[in-house]
Point group: none
Chain length 200, copies 4
Amino acid sequence: MTQTTKSSPGRPRSIEVHQAILQATLDLLAEFGYQGLSIEAIAARAGVGKATIYRRYNSKEELIAEAIECNRPQLTIPDTGSLWTDLEEVHKQAAELDLSPLGRQTIAMIISLASTIPQFAEIYWKKYVIPRRKAASIIFKRAKARGEMSPDVDPDLICDLMTGLLFKSILFQPETEEIKSYMRRALDFLLQGVTSKPSQ
Amino acid sequence: MTQTTKSSPGRPRSIEVHQAILQATLDLLAEFGYQGLSIEAIAARAGVGKATIYRRYNSKEELIAEAIECNRPQLTIPDTGSLWTDLEEVHKQAAELDLSPLGRQTIAMIISLASTIPQFAEIYWKKYVIPRRKAASIIFKRAKARGEMSPDVDPDLICDLMTGLLFKSILFQPETEEIKSYMRRALDFLLQGVTSKPSQ
Amino acid sequence: MTQTTKSSPGRPRSIEVHQAILQATLDLLAEFGYQGLSIEAIAARAGVGKATIYRRYNSKEELIAEAIECNRPQLTIPDTGSLWTDLEEVHKQAAELDLSPLGRQTIAMIISLASTIPQFAEIYWKKYVIPRRKAASIIFKRAKARGEMSPDVDPDLICDLMTGLLFKSILFQPETEEIKSYMRRALDFLLQGVTSKPSQ
Amino acid sequence: MTQTTKSSPGRPRSIEVHQAILQATLDLLAEFGYQGLSIEAIAARAGVGKATIYRRYNSKEELIAEAIECNRPQLTIPDTGSLWTDLEEVHKQAAELDLSPLGRQTIAMIISLASTIPQFAEIYWKKYVIPRRKAASIIFKRAKARGEMSPDVDPDLICDLMTGLLFKSILFQPETEEIKSYMRRALDFLLQGVTSKPSQ
DNA sequence: ACGTAACCGAGACGGTACGTCAGGTCTTATC
DNA sequence: GATAAGACCTGACGTACCGTCTCGGTTACGT
């Protein structure tokens, strides 16, 4: 179905151009936010014609989507042998990722776009929700196998509650450190009845 | 010191016009969403000159802000004598309010705008977060007094978790009914360990 | 037919206001020309409401017409006893009148408006053409009586030729002094064959 | 010095569009006059975006200038061998050109615009005054060579006097035929003393 | 003397056109 | 055939005035 090494006739699309477009997009995004981000400016910044962009993406949103998608690093799922140290690790990673300046900007924008363009909801779902749900699922499964956790806890629910709280915090709480501790407190609360937490 | 009946000179601003503008804004918002909401269309729909809008609001955002602020109905805090029926009632009210077509659109837009315009974060905070936190606080206090609930539960935390989840669901879950049942499940989970739930 | 002292009931229109409006109109006309002359600016300058202007005039043109008509000083027809000193005097008066900044602006504007608004053509005719023709007619008649001039010269033709030239010069010749000397030369040429010019 | 086949990069400006704009301008001008001539209407009539017009012209005046400039036919200088038949011919041409309905409109507008926008004075000067002065100059030079005319007559002065009279007549005299005969009479008068007019 | 009718300032009102800007499509010449 | 450049149509932007319409307040007559 898909041709693997089929090369179409004519000049191939330049990889440098591709990169330049994405980089320019991210630069301008970081500098001016989603508002004040024009295709015209991206083209100028990348030293590229507008048509070259439209040949690759059908809309501004698609372009931004790919720019974010390519740029966003992945979570690695820890396996320390203990539920709480695993969670600690995930919590640390997520905080680093999401609460950095660029991270906050990005999430805010994903949210913003998801609320208007359905296609973004999907991207977000794939790149953000699923990995976290998967991480939670794996960590919880291991914890259940170790008997650290009640077997009927729904990892997705926990994960969604935490993610929702994160969103809300990112939008409405400017203090990063407060978000971290509030999230931490929420996690403790959510798991208090269903796990055997070690005495700290 | 305070002038009670001070009236500026010149023709006073028409209240009908004011209302027409806000109504037109809400109508078009419900119909086309935030994108595709132009001042020109609002003016045309309201049967009003553009200048009349710009005389009142300096930007589209300001206008939308007031439209939402003026329109949004308030929650009434129930007092049925039982924690769970109270929650049932609040849950029903919130669902009706937030998950109606206009409600979803409005929330999505507030979220979207809050990420870029601080003023919107405030509106959301005042019109959404505070009332819900207050409702939760009162209901929980009564429940604690009745001994239905552990006294050290933080109502704000519960409320924020639920709000965050709602929020996330509205953005990424198109099925209204599924959101309702998922929210219901989340509430059960959150309160399972801290209350004496009646057998259903 | 006309009632002389009939006064309608109610407060009579203020004369000061009337004057202030006309003066403001002339001021702004001299300062900004016909373009850039807005009713709003006139009202502001005169310290008057717009309605007060529209109560008196149905259009900007009507207002300007009256402003000019009321303001324009008249030529006085000299009688020095000699054709050439009479002409000298008329020439001097007209130059002073027409080539002052306000004079140039006014003429330019009348010309400009005359092409579209018939009413302005009439103003020009009454305020510019007729007085000059009359002056020329009287001066020439006296000159003919004195035998200084051939009796079959048409004063209107001379006058119209001079007026047309002035007209053209005002539009296309910025240098006031050059206009004066060119007009002078034209006058000499026009009368050379039909008068006995004194040796200068 | 001059690049013959220099072509700037990018899509070249469309000639059809150019023509359509100018044609629409002239059409609307003839239909509604200078007042009531909006860029928006021109754009709509030409089937063109407003930006496309503003890319070419910085103002309505510039556009009108070019529309007129491109449209206005030139005089041809006759050479019949006789001053009076030459003048006859020029007179006929000018009458046909200037006193046609479009001609009157155009001249009125040139005058109108020249009085407010200096740039128009220049256009008029180049397209209107200079050609006529040149024609007069050539015809008179030939006449002087033939001995039909006194050698010290200034052709520019004659020409300007006639032009000025034409202007004045066009603005204030609605009857075309009367203008023609009056102009004819003026010409006779101007040249009576300086030429040997053939007996008619 | 006092009511009332027309005046006055201020400025809001529905409009029209302005000149600008960006979006997304197209047409060149060049690589 | 992809690219850089940039012209093209579309449509919304925010501004400036237009001419009309309320407002609250002020004269000056006519009873």
